[in-house]
């Protein structure tokens, strides 16, 4: 019961963060570097949220939605990674962060799949304004904007409610496998090497013409 309430709380907060990705304002609170600490603070692990947020920001440093090019969702990847990093406890606590980050990036791709469906659904509704009498156009355009916001918010909330338990289970299983292979120290040490990937990608991004 408590776990369900925690999932609901995370999903409701993450939904607000997701609105910032594209639907409203784009003040970049949805970027991993901010979303990580926000979600981390909500679940009582702000330090872990900051660490994962910063590494994820580096991984996704050159990723942004431009026109029809919709990359893997950095916000969903970060939220999933931050929430699931704390699942493994006891003997395999150290492997939680790197495993959750790996699984999180896959969830970012899953979120993009849903996001594309929402955008296709928005296309279908355009006819509602096209066929409207001129007197009704203003109200219908407003309704489309409101519907767009609600769809993104509810879509995100449902995404987390449906997948968080599964992803937590997956992280736990992978962590146990890592432990069985005797690689837990490697995973714990590897986290501190991961920023190298983002730094290299960032440098390459700023060198490209």
């Amino acid at each position: 019961m408590n776990l369900s309430l925690e999932f609901l709380g995370i999903a409701l907060i993450a939904g607000v963060v997701h609105l910032d990705t594209m639907a409203f304002l784009q003040s970049m609170i949805s970027r991993p570097i901010v979303a990580g600490p926000i979600i981390g603070s909500a679940i009582g692990r702000p330090e872990s949220g900051l660490l994962i947020g910063c590494i994820m920001e580096l991984v996704y440093i050159s990723s942004v939605t431009i026109g029809v090019k919709i990359p893997s969702d950095a916000t969903a990847a970060t939220v999933m990674a931050v929430v699931c990093a704390g699942v493994p406890d006891g003997r395999y606590a150290a492997v939680g962060t790197p495993v959750a980050m790996l699984v999180g990036t896959l969830m970012g791709t899953a979120y993009t799949f849903m996001d594309v469906r929402i955008k296709h659904a928005n296309s279908v509704s355009l006819g509602w304004v096209d066929t409207a009498k001129p007197e009704l156009v203003d109200a219908r355009v407003t309704a489309l904007v409101q519907r767009g916001l609600v769809t993104v918010y509810l879509g995100s909330v449902l995404f987390y409610l449906a997948l968080l338990p599964l992803v937590q289970f997956a992280v736990k299983m992978v962590s146990e496998a890592v432990l069985a292979l005797g690689m837990e120290r490697a995973f714990a040490a590897g986290v501190w090497l991961l920023p190298a990937v983002g730094i290299g990608v960032g440098l390459a991004h700023f060198t490209e013409e």
Binding site: M22, A23, F24, L25, S27, M28, I29, R31, I33, V34, P37, E47, G49, L50, C54, E57, L58, I61, S63, V64, G67, V68, P98, L102, K119, H120, N122, S123, S125, L126, V129, D130, A132, K133, P134, L136, V137, D138, R147, L149, V152, A186, F187, A189, G190, W192, L193, L194, P195, A196, V197, G198, I199, G200, V201, G202, L203, A204, F206, T207
Partner: protein, 256 residues
Amino acid sequence: MNLVRLRVFIRSLFLQSAWNFERMQNVGFTFALAPFIRQLYKDDRRRIGQRLKDHFGFFNTHPYLANLLLGIVMGLEERHARGEIRSEEILRTRAMLAGPVAAIGDRLIWSTWRVFCSILGIAVFMVGGREGFWFSPGITAVCVTFLFVYNAGNLPLRYAALRWGYDHSGGVIQQLSTFELQRWVLRIRTAGRCVLLMAAAVYSVTFESVVLTVVFWLFVMGAFTLKRRFRAMQVFYLLYAAIMLVAYGFTLGKTG
């Protein structure tokens, strides 16, 4: 007039709420423009609806600089209401400017300014965020650095673009060319590279072993080289596996 402009500005923040693959930002653009059209035609709901319907066609540009086009269209709509220009001219101007404005915004804001601000936030984390006592203030410092620096250029730019577009609807593109945007892009990118390299240097010397520091820089160079041929996520998965293998070998060597 200022109140209407403020309402258009606030509504412009919802530009991509109903983004779609068919006409992209058309819903948000029409929604943002509505208060201005309503002010022009007062109680003539039929005329208001007709004007809004005209703007409901394909529209796509950079979401921040869209305000520049909103301002330009507002100026042209005023002239249209006075009977000076035809609706087709407004739509043609909008379509002609959307592409170049998007190109400027994508290069200057998305791929330069946003990335530069991320680098600043990450630099704060890498330099101080790992130490125990740093964490609580560190979280605030990282988030505030990123959000404050980024948004210092976001909302003011969006409002100024709306105002500027409305005031100088005719010669906006000529005026834009005097800002030497390309030079600014190159300056920001050079500064970003320097900050990233310095932060990485500070971060890498905190490793316990010199071997790990060398391995870290090898991975930086590896990612740099691979990014030229592969997408960022592919580089991540490839090097993630490599990092775990190297770290495994390193820990085996230590325990052995």
